[in-house]
């Protein structure tokens, strides 16, 4: 399998604070890769730096052979990268349908109807609410909408920032089941999570980030039984 994306020794600074320290990782085509880490580890910074927000201070972000670290966010988005970001960031005063249409910007409207139908099959709750204002939806529904919106651009690499955050266990389970279905279509997924249990079970490979540094790496199964990981992220069980 060929490498789709690679971080090479990436540093990110917020003023005097260094949020990422020499981060290197790679994601192959068709893989599900996860990055687990505690609050403030630098997970969201990592995902946002792909879109140049913030810009990395050194290193390279290679995507399909090209260093995209200095490109504009809309350039990155129009080359097959889509993100369901931290906090979901759906457009509150748009309807569910309009939010989904916002996902089609990189590829145009030609597949919009077909893809929207597909999203409603994946997330039936969205179909019932297609004309509802997005701000009036529950947290779980908003998370589904954020993922569906990202999928509407038919991405080559789907980036997910803590899709389980603040959701009831049953909803988390549903969302991970859907991610599994999406992955089975061959989609490459990079998932950032604190919910190590769900994330590592889903992922082929994982990284553990501590204070902006990659501490551990291995297959999902290896990390699940790793004592350090169990102690820090799985409540020691």
């Amino acid at each position: 399998m060929s490498t789709l994306m690679e971080f090479k020794e990436v540093d990110v600074h917020y003023g005097p604070i260094q949020a990422l320290k020499k981060v290197s990782l790679s994601i192959d085509e068709g893989e599900i890769v996860t990055m687990i880490g505690a609050n403030g580890a630098g997970k969201s910074t990592l995902l946002m730096s792909i879109f140049g927000q913030p810009r990395i201070s050194s290193g390279e972000i290679i995507y399909r052979g090209e260093d995209i670290s200095q490109k504009s966010a809309h350039y990155v988005a129009s080359h097959g990268l889509a993100q369901s970001p931290e906090g979901r960031r759906i457009f509150p005063s748009m309807s569910v349908e309009e939010n989904l249409l916002m996902g089609t910007i990189p590829i145009g409207m030609k597949h919009a109807d077909e893809d929207m139908k597909h999203m409603f099959e994946l997330f039936p709750r969205l179909e019932e609410r297609r004309n509802q204002r997005a701000s009036t939806m529950s947290g779980g529904e908003q998370q589904m909408l954020a993922i569906a919106r990202a999928l509407m651009s038919r991405p080559k690499l789907l980036l997910l920032d803590e899709p389980s955050l603040g959701l009831a266990p049953i909803i988390v389970k549903q969302i991970f089941q859907i991610l599994k279905d999406v992955a089975s279509t061959g989609m490459t997924i990079f998932l950032v999570e604190q919910n190590a249990n769900h994330a590592l079970k889903l992922a082929d490979r994982g990284y553990v980030m501590v204070n902006g540094e990659i501490r551990l790496t291995g297959t999902g199964a290896e990390l699940l039984v790793n004592p350090e990981v169990r102690e820090a992220y799985l409540g020691g069980h």
Partner: protein, 303 residues
């Protein structure tokens, strides 16, 4: 009775003009959170462009009124739109990540530049265009009558059509969705592949085009203008935008109509000398009592 009706009719046309100009203030505020103080001067420029386009069309032998009006609208809207684009590029984009104060100063500077540039190139004196459309509808009511000139009817129709088209663009088209997305969450919009700089440019073009529409209509009706007309008109339209709720598109149109109607009624029933004072007092009053306006969301941050 007839005077109230007459002023209501006048107020409606005036209000539609305020509404058109207010759109530029409210859309720019909505998308980048700044008051574009040069917007009134963009309107002023469009008055000059109207005169230039009429002169050009006449020079090239276009005699028929509908063609002259149509030609003046197209010419003025396109060139004024280009002004809006350039103003954003020159005065605001370089300051995108600067403090609000720098942007404010740049806006005031842009306003002065436009006034001085027009004054230098066109002369300081009042100028005018010939009246193209004469005649009026007259409705007798009791002893008096209400008179509506054909020009006023035309203004109202074209202004409402302009607002209708804009509302359609914002609500139903891809460009409109991109504007709304950029307004609601600029960072997310860029992550979804929207070139937000381009969207901001197009908002300036749209706002300027709407001001140009107003500029052509008022110039054709009123005839006279000078390099300073943008100031008063700018504050009036800004008042309309604040009244409706700055950042809200329907608010700008509604605020324009309400301001136009109340100002005309005040002029007809109380004193026409103090109608500007009336409008400015209204602005101060809204800012004190309800700064978020009629349809706006309560603002977290103000300029």
């Amino acid at each position: 009775m007839d005077i109230v009706l007459q002023q209501l009719v006048n107020g409606l046309t005036l209000g539609s003009v305020y509404g058109l100009i207010a759109i530029g203030y409210t859309m720019v505020y909505g998308i980048i959170g700044m008051i574009n103080f040069a917007h009134g001067d963009v309107y002023m420029v469009s008055a000059y462009l109207t005169a230039i386009s009429i002169a050009l069309l006449t020079f090239f032998g276009v005699e028929s009124f509908p063609f002259i009006i149509f030609g003046a609208l197209v010419f003025t809207i396109v060139i004024t739109g280009a002004y809006g684009w350039v103003i954003e590029r020159v005065a605001y984009r370089p300051l995108r990540n600067s403090s609000r104060l720098s942007v404010l100063i740049s806006a005031i500077g842009m306003s002065l530049i436009l006034q001085n540039y027009v004054q230098l190139s066109q002369g300081p004196n009042q100028q005018g265009v010939p009246t193209l459309i004469t005649g009026a509808f007259r409705f007798h009511i009791g002893d008096g009558y209400v008179q509506i000139t054909y020009m006023k009817v035309l203004i109202l129709l074209i202004a409402l059509a302009g607002m209708g088209i804009l509302t359609y663009i914002i609500q139903k088209t891809k460009l409109g969705r991109m504007c709304r997305a950029t307004q609601q969450d600029r960072k997310m919009a860029s992550i979804l592949g929207i070139d937000t700089d381009k969207v901001i440019s197009s908002v300036f073009v749209i706002g300027s085009a709407m001001a140009a529409l107003a500029g052509v209509l008022v110039t054709l009706d009123y005839g006279a203008f000078d390099f300073y007309i943008g100031f008063i008109m700018g504050i009036k339209a800004f008042t309309a935008a604040v009244l409706g709720g700055i950042g809200s598109l329907p608010g700008a149109m509604l605020g324009g109509l309400i301001l136009g109607l109340s100002e005309s009624l005040f002029a007809g029933l109380v004193s026409s000398d103090y109608k500007d004072v009336f409008s400015f007092s209204l602005l101060v009053l809204i800012l004190i009592i309800r700064p978020s306006g009629l349809l706006g969301k309560p603002a977290v941050e103000k300029v």
